[in-house]
Subunit: 463 residues, 2 copies
């Protein structure tokens, strides 16, 4: 695949970074990047992602998944000063990163990269950055910069290593830790050698299985991955070493996880275009690949004013990944239902929305919903993109309704506006934080870049 | 590959455990196993493994790799009551497991399974068991039983998932965490459902890249894996759930890591034959696949009484895995030199042994050693097993010496005796613990089964 002799030779004189030196090439970029070179719209997207993350984490913080994880940590007798978002407990920084990573993802409402993969980069990278700042004063601009760089690394690797051929890795876990190491490593001021080592230490901890989708382990992965990257940066700072070609080596991350080398474009255009611009924010609290079908069902409902009782049957044409990732025919739990396009469409028809509370166990068990879900069928059409779907509904009175969604609400072409995101944030925080705290947190996130000490953000998100 | 409908049907009625339900089948065995059914020779092998682990950990505890990891943990401000083997520091139980896992492996001197894979099961499984007992009184028999079961799970999965076709996973990291979850889960008294969940939580954290061999990350993997399994058991105890078919599912550990289903024999003969009986203990402080070549070189040296200066050239015939895993032509660090069959043979010829101190940086850089190493060549012979080698030495005076090693010293057929292991243990602890403590620790390990409270073992290994 690649010339071993050339690789060995390069190894000797690694002062020169070539296209093939992915690990070092990314490290070099992260170390050398200057905040003033990050365009305003990229910074703005960073702020939007931060707001979305905060809302999801605050709302997710009361989920039974988080309660179970906190109970386990209590058994270890741990304590500390780091904020657990949306809660009153404090933990040591490393374990706060675990819980906050879980909270951010447990509603399946966090930002998604809409590219070759659907990585959720914020879950692994923001919790360690927030936890790291607990005992330190980090200017908001540096924090935002580290966040943008962390997302850059996690997403470039996800798209470059996995593309659309993935044997079953939860991509967020596979590359998110290297992003987290980049972010914390940047705040730690690691040099190029140490940043390269940090990436390697994170790479050898990479994991996460798609078999876990629909269980508590799905959101556990970003939490654990956050810790992996955080620990990697701390270890590298203290001289812990790693393999020079952790990602691109013959037994490195790409080859071992996928059986093929990473794409050569991982290092292309670094600092010119930014991965965070491909982050999208979900209006519906379920897998992104369900959005187009739900959007179509809601449109038909709103346009024609029928009720769920009038629906005879529903047929969906969806993109292939929709059924691969979210084809659960009969979900048994709320978490599983987030990966059932049948359930999502039935919810939308019966309740007129797909809010977080609709994906709780009670809805899965509702007989009316189950009956409607059973009348939904789906086929894939390779011509449809992930944000596209065709929804056909046959009503009991014989009417046949049909719509084609070209770009689902919340997709790159049809994104949520700043105001939409603010409303999503408020809705998520409502009932967890008092109104005044919600507005203050939103303001701090919006002003992030100008904060003299960004640790106030996490502080403001404590219950 | 497997019938999806059958699997789904099984899923529904998972009261029945079939051969295909690897995750639940292993969990069921671990939960139901009785110590009185573990044969005396298996318990004895458990004790031998414990002694070998303790010696390696105490000696490894002063390695720069461990110092770097401890420095990083210090940056997190952590503290606790759990023993760091061979040292005076104490840590919380979870992080003690990290450090002890690293220490146990950093000299590459720990027990190895000599079967389809060379997993080192003790590194991931013993540290969490020892740490877990910190604040609890666990009878020695229960501890030894949990250890034997943990090794059983880790090794059966390693051999059944990877066999000899491994794209580059560090097997100890890939399945060791599930073993650790089994061990801690057993001490926690998890029921079958929770044990199954614990295995799933561990499976989704599995990782470890062979690219790391020869760097600090090699020994980091067992340490981190120890934590993964420990955390998995604690989470499961608190109701954290996971996928029912975490190992055998279509997107479960086996398929995702290797692209093929696990061997069906994983569940065969559970409770009848024991994996720990395939543990071997190394006389040389380097990768097991170097042992036959070193053994042969030492034999020729002892038999013919020549010195290294008289050696013109050395040619080795070795098993294919020897060069795949340990074919580093020019190691640059002590850790790398443990994976260089050229270096190992040169060391043996120059110094007459292959003790831990020989694999430190100073020896790698020694010009006399480098010159001798350069005169060693190696070829693989598919007819040779991992514990076999042919060593040919041409002396400057023209003599040609040759030997064939049928079973290297320390292999299953030619194992270290109890007395050999005691001596190895004493040599490893020498200089780290005072003599009296060394003898007391050895005695506690030997008496393990009869101890009313096994937490004294770790206590005795603190400096």
């Amino acid at each position: 695949v690649r010339d071993v002799m050339t690789k060995a030779a390069k190894h000797e004189q690694n002062a020169h970074v070539s296209d093939a030196d992915i690990t070092r090439g990314l490290a070099k970029y992260v170390v050398g990047s200057r905040f003033e070179d990050i365009p305003a719209e990229v910074r703005h997207e960073g702020v939007r992602s931060l707001i979305n993350f905060m809302g999801c984490s605050v709302a997710g913080s009361r989920h039974e998944t988080v309660e179970a994880a906190l109970a386990a940590l209590r058994d270890l007798g741990l304590s500390g000063e780091a904020v657990v978002l949306g809660r009153s407990e404090r933990l040591d920084a490393m374990n706060a990163a675990l819980i906050n990573g879980i909270s951010s993802a447990v509603l399946d409402f966090d930002a998604t990269q809409f590219k070759r993969t659907n990585i959720h980069p914020s879950g692994p990278v923001l919790p360690p950055l927030l936890a790291f700042m607990t005992s330190r004063s980090v200017p908001g601009g540096e924090f935002l910069h580290a966040y943008i760089l962390a997302v850059e690394v996690a997403c470039r690797l996800a798209n470059g290593i996995f593309g659309e051929q993935n044997p079953g890795w939860h991509v967020t876990g596979a590359t998110g830790g290297i992003g987290a190491a980049a972010g914390v490593g940047r705040l730690l001021g690691l040099n190029e050698d140490k940043m390269t080592a940090a990436f390697g230490i994170a790479a050898t901890q990479a994991g996460g299985l798609r078999e876990m989708y629909g269980t508590m382990c799905k959101s556990f992965t970003p939490g654990r991955t956050a810790q992996n990257g955080y620990l990697a940066a701390l270890l590298a700072a203290r001289g812990f070493d790693s393999a020079e070609q952790a990602i691109e080596g013959d037994k490195g991350l790409a080859m071992v996880m996928t059986g093929r080398p990473a794409e050569r474009d991982i290092l292309q255009g670094l600092g010119e275009h930014f991965e965070i611009m491909h982050n999208i924010y979900k209006p519906f609290a379920c897998a992104i690949v369900l959005h187009a079908a739900i959007d179509g069902a809601l449109r038909l409902c709103n346009l024609h004013g029928f009720t769920a009782e009038q629906v005879d049957r529903v047929h969906l044409l969806v993109s292939p990944p929709t059924l691969t990732l979210a084809g659960k025919r009969d979900p048994r739990t709320g978490l599983e239902s987030k990966f059932s396009v049948y359930h999502g469409v039935a919810l939308a028809l019966l309740h007129g929305d797909a809010d977080p509370r609709r994906f709780e166990d009670a809805y899965v068990l509702d007989p009316a919903l189950a009956a409607l879900r059973a009348r939904v069928t789906a086929k894939t059409d390779a011509g449809l993109a992930k944000d596209q779907a065709e929804v056909s509904i046959k009503l009991a009175d014989g009417r046949e309704l049909k719509t084609r969604v070209e770009h689902a609400v919340g997709s790159l072409v049809n994104p949520m506006s700043d105001a939409d995101l603010d409303e999503k944030f408020r809705g998520l925080c409502d009932g967890v934080l008092p109104t005044q705290k919600i507005e203050r947190l939103l303001e701090l996130c919006r002003d992030c870049e100008r904060l003299p000490d960004a640790s106030v953000i996490a502080q403001a998100a404590a219950a």
